[in-house]
Amino acid sequence: MLHLALFSIFGAICVAGAVNVLIQRHPINSALSLIAVLASLAVEYLLLGAEFLAAVQVIVYAGAIMVLFVFTIMLLNAGEEERTRGSRVAIVFGIPGMLVGGILVAWALLRYSGTGPVSVGVLPGPPNTIAQLLFHDFLLPFEVTSLLILIAIMGAVVLARGEETPRPATKEQG
């Protein structure tokens, strides 16, 4: 009962934070809301019984990736975004379309994939179970994913380096 109440509360925080990410005009406020979303997601994992996943979620997403987001916002000193009137098409078709699409996907998943709703506290939690799954049962997908990430890193390095420009001859500093 307590589990269910906590699960609902943190679910609500999660959704509210996600909406807040979009509503806030200042990028740093949006980034902080996103941290709240990721942290409350971690609590949801914890309540479902996946304590290792919850800890990793906090360490990797909330503690490392979002630091880089905040870092970038601070470095660029990004100001408040300008508010435009928005496109009418997005309001008339976009939001209802998104709702219908979401409901359809959720319905199809629950109806046809054979996975029911997960009850509280039953996910495989301990680190050794996760290790068994990752490095034994799903070894090939895991390694393929790591290759994918390696390619992404190399792409980022190439983009960040830019074109090699010959250094302009500087005058001797007197």
């Binding site: 290792f52 800890a55 360490i59 490392a64 630091v67 880089l68 905040v70 870092f71 601070m74």
Partner: protein, 345 residues
């Protein structure tokens, strides 16, 4: 144990742990000023109380009664939240640190920690990784170029060194086979050949201990890695605009972090509460806690000693040291440890 006894015991443990931690924070400031003073051939605090022992109290009172100034140009909500975030993250990781074995009080078998979770180490890493935000947001919300530079430096430094810190811990995890801090300490009981303690630092993790030590200095923003608050170039870094208790909160967070890092080093590398245990039953309960406290104290002295001895890195040296030296070393240590454990198994 029924629910009500559990709640009562937990509340008592939390109150004691918090009181001990905050007192140690106050007195590590005194210790630092005193030891640093003697290193630099002066007396350090000596007026308030015998040996200046009441100085922390006087400092605390002064901080509380100072005018709490909020500059007009700051981002107010984040400016107020940042020091709180720092202190909360620094203090709450004490919850999973075991300081000794079990005690039997009034028929209850109580472990000497607030709670034992099977991912204790990850909980500490998670909490400390959130601590970066306190510093980064303080720098940004102050709306001051020195603060901003300090905050940027701090977050870049903490993110970089967290990687080698985490990698150095994985070697210990491989040797011990558990994330639970209590089990990691239990695995270090006993001796090699009858006289060398079976601590992880003598168990093939010497290099990991060195990496941990270096990264820990950087994680807590201490000399020689105190670039985020380098006085000579940044006024005071991320806490330039803070005054009174808000300023003090950053210092509380720094010293609480030092203590946490020392506790973690003791638990993971120096055998936790293991040490020679002799005497009557009461001594057998107190001695482990004493050994634990002594090891953490030694770590704090080392911190202060280094501060009194070493100059400061330049920023590019700091980044090069982290990424080009510590990180490859940590990876190599990890690979070698994994190979040795796999061959022995």
């Amino acid at each position: 144990m029924s629910i009500s006894t559990f709640v009562i015991v937990s509340v008592i443990k939390i109150v004691i742990a918090l009181a001990v931690l905050l007192t140690s924070v106050a007195y590590s400031v005194w210790l630092e000023r005193k030891v640093l003073g003697h290193i630099q051939n002066r007396w350090g605090p000596s007026y308030v109380g015998p040996f200046g022992l009441l100085q922390p109290l006087a400092d605390g009172l002064k901080f509380i009664f100072k005018e709490d100034l909020t500059p007009p140009h700051v981002h107010k909500a984040l400016y107020i939240a940042a020091p709180m975030l720092s202190v909360i993250c620094a203090v709450s990781s004490i919850a999973v640190i075991p300081i000794g074995n079990w005690v039997d009080v009034a028929g209850l078998h109580i472990p000497l920690e607030i709670t034992d979770v099977n991912i204790g180490l990850l909980v500490i890493l998670g909490i400390t990784s959130m601590g970066v935000y306190g510093v980064a947001l303080a720098g940004w919300s102050s709306n001051n170029k020195y603060s901003l530079l300090g905050g940027l430096r701090a977050s870049a430094q903490m993110v970089s060194y967290e990687i080698s810190l985490g990698l150095s811990l994985i070697g210990v995890l491989i040797v011990s086979g558990s994330f639970s801090l209590r089990q990691i300490v239990d695995a270090q009981g006993g001796r090699f050949w009858g006289f060398v303690p079976r601590w992880n630092v003598f168990h093939g993790q010497e290099v990991a201990f060195f990496i941990y030590l270096m990264s820990a200095y950087a994680e807590t923003n201490r000399v020689p890695f105190d670039l985020p608050e380098a006085e000579t170039e940044l006024v005071a870094g991320y806490h330039t605009e803070y005054s009174a208790m808000k300023f003090a909160m950053f210092f509380m967070a720094e010293y609480a972090n030092m203590i946490t890092v020392g506790c973690l080093a003791t638990l993971l590398f120096l055998g936790g509460w293991h040490g020679p245990i002799v005497g009557p039953p009461l001594a057998r309960v107190i001695l482990p806690v004493f050994w634990f406290g002594l090891k953490v104290f030694g770590f704090m002295i080392l911190y202060i000693w280094v501060r009194g001895t070493l100059p400061r890195f330049r920023y590019d040296q700091l980044m090069a040291f982290g990424w080009k030296f510590l990180f490859p070393l940590a990876v190599a240590n990890l690979v070698v440890t994994a190979l040795v454990v796999a061959v022995r198994a």
